[in-house]
Amino acid sequence: MAENKQVLIGENLFDMSEGKPSLIVTHCKSCGTYFFPKSFTCHNPECVGKDVETTNLSRQGKVENYSVMNYPPPTPFVTQEPYEPIVCAAVEFPEGITIIGMMEGVTAEQVKIGMDVEVTVGTIYTKKTGDEVIAWKFKAV
């Protein structure tokens, strides 16, 4: 039996080339704002330069808030079967952007506001073909 493949949730989202995963963001050199997922322009209405570049976001942030999703939503949402509650968090990064994602390795009781986390990459669900879909996640440090 062929080994199950890992497939990305989408292209242009995270960079694994440095060994540890980083989120790929757009940085506006004119006004300093960061955007995720990356964008072809800067969305700040006050910014006149809109000179954007692609870069990696720093790897650590803090949990700003969180929720635990206890029931699987319907298609086209896709979730792991059998369903396990998903701990999701909004994480603030030093660059001033907050990003939402799943937490890894914490229970509903363990997740806390202010918790230091790092970006990781992990399986979010397994397809019927056996392929694992991977996305960015957050893990306590």
Partner: protein
């Protein structure tokens, strides 16, 4: 909005009607509104219709099909979709049609059969090089209520709002809804019962998140001057304002996976913008409002909108709830209709459930749920992706 009046309203009861087409529900709402106004189909000169998300081609061009159901007369039709803010948006477009002189008498109608449970989403036929926010959240398992839960968690940390407060919101709304014969759920809930319901997305429980329903509503608009031919009690639209977000909004609005919060930008800024634009347009302030139909998609919404619409200061909504300010008979009754909590969401039509209640309240015909002495009512609808609309009516 200048000199535009509502002379008739209709509302199909809300619930689940699997054997009844949405076009038949629309017809019932239109006929009630026309009867209420004392006009007939041949009087209608313009149609604004809520465009549905889940009805396929027929749903997207809902007004065009509705005109056919009622009898094609070559009436201009505009199909409108601003997510769950479509109701308020339709009213704005309909009022603009009257105010501009495009038509003497305008029908605004919306009929919707919502998807069951958590809302699914529409197919994307052209995926972009960078996945869309919706594609990401479908894969990350983030349905709408997760976004509301994330915001509620912030309030709990910042202001000390509790799970009991969330339950009390549902109880308050259910006391109003049990008095409304058009509501889907006409019974009172207890705090214990709400707290015992399933924790869906922490801290929001099943009974604190509105259900999804089938529903339809209609309204007939004309100029204030023309309204005198039909009624001695026209209801005037003194504001119908749209809002969209401000850059730097600290709220994670559906369907984003990131935000760029900036200091000084209000939470749910699209709603703040629409509410304040409406106050400016009407020349009134929150103290002039006698009751509010706000978008209670979840218990979080009630607490947040009470503050966003300036009925109290930031962080004080729970104190107002505890004091009874939001109940019928209180300082500023919230959702005397029972709200979406008692009706369920019928996405494109729900703004017209609010409108129906506002008109009836201002006419003083709401019986046991009447807000005594109501002269000015306000509503606001909350739509995904930063869509918003606020309406102020005056008798």
């Amino acid at each position: 909005m200048k000199d535009v009046a509502i002379i008739g309203v209709g509302l199909h009861p809300w619930g689940k009607f699997p054997d009844k087409p949405w076009t038949a529900m629309a017809k019932d709402a239109i006929e009630e509104a026309m009867k209420d106004a004392g006009v007939s189909w041949k009087d209608i000169g313009f149609i604004v219709s809520g465009s549905q998300l889940w009805g396929g081609r027929k749903g997207i061009y809902s007004g065009t099909y509705t005109e056919e159901v009622m009898g094609n007369r070559g009436i201009p039709v505009v199909n409108v979709n601003n997510a769950c803010a479509t109701g308020g948006t339709m009213l704005t477009v309909a009022a603009m049609a009257v105010a501009s002189g495009a038509a003497e008498m305008v029908l605004a109608v919306s009929s919707d059969k919502s998807a069951k449970g958590f809302f699914p989403a529409l197919p994307v036929y052209h995926e972009e090089p960078v996945p869309s926010d919706d594609t990401l959240r479908w894969n990350l398992g983030l349905p709408n209520p997760v976004y509301w839960a994330l915001e509620m968690r912030k309030r709990m940390a910042k202001f000390g709002d509790t799970e009991e407060h969330l339950a009390k919101v549902k109880v308050m709304l259910s006391k109003h809804g049990k008095l409304n014969p058009k509501a889907r759920y006409q019974r009172e809930f207890s705090v214990e019962e709400v707290l015992a319901s399933a924790m869906v997305t922490d801290p929001l429980r099943l009974y604190e998140i509105c259900a999804t329903s089938d529903g339809a509503g209609a309204a007939i608009l004309c100029s204030k001057e023309k309204a005198k031919q039909f009624t001695t009690k026209p209801i005037e639209i003194i504001a119908s304002a749209l809002g969209s977000p401000l850059y730097g909004d600290p709220t994670a609005r559906i369907p984003v996976v990131s935000i760029n919060p900036k200091p000084g930008v209000p939470v749910i800024s699209e709603s703040w913008v629409a509410a304040h634009r409406a106050y400016d347009e009407a020349g009134v302030g929150p103290d002039d409002i006698d009751f509010v139909e706000l978008p209670d998609n979840s218990a979080w919404h009630v607490l947040q909108y009470f503050e966003t619409m300036d009925f109290c200061k930031e962080g004080e909504a729970c104190a107002c709830l505890d004091r009874g300010d939001m109940a019928i008979g209180g300082r500023i009754p919230v959702c005397p209709s029972g709200g979406f909590s008692s009706f369920g969401e019928a996405t494109m039509a729900q703004g017209f459930a609010q409108l129906y209640e506002m008109v009836l309240q201002l006419r003083g015909v709401c019986g046991d749920r009447q807000v005594q002495g109501a002269k000015v009512g306000m509503s606001e609808v909350y739509g995904a992706a930063g869509n918003n609309a606020a309406v102020i009516l005056k008798k």
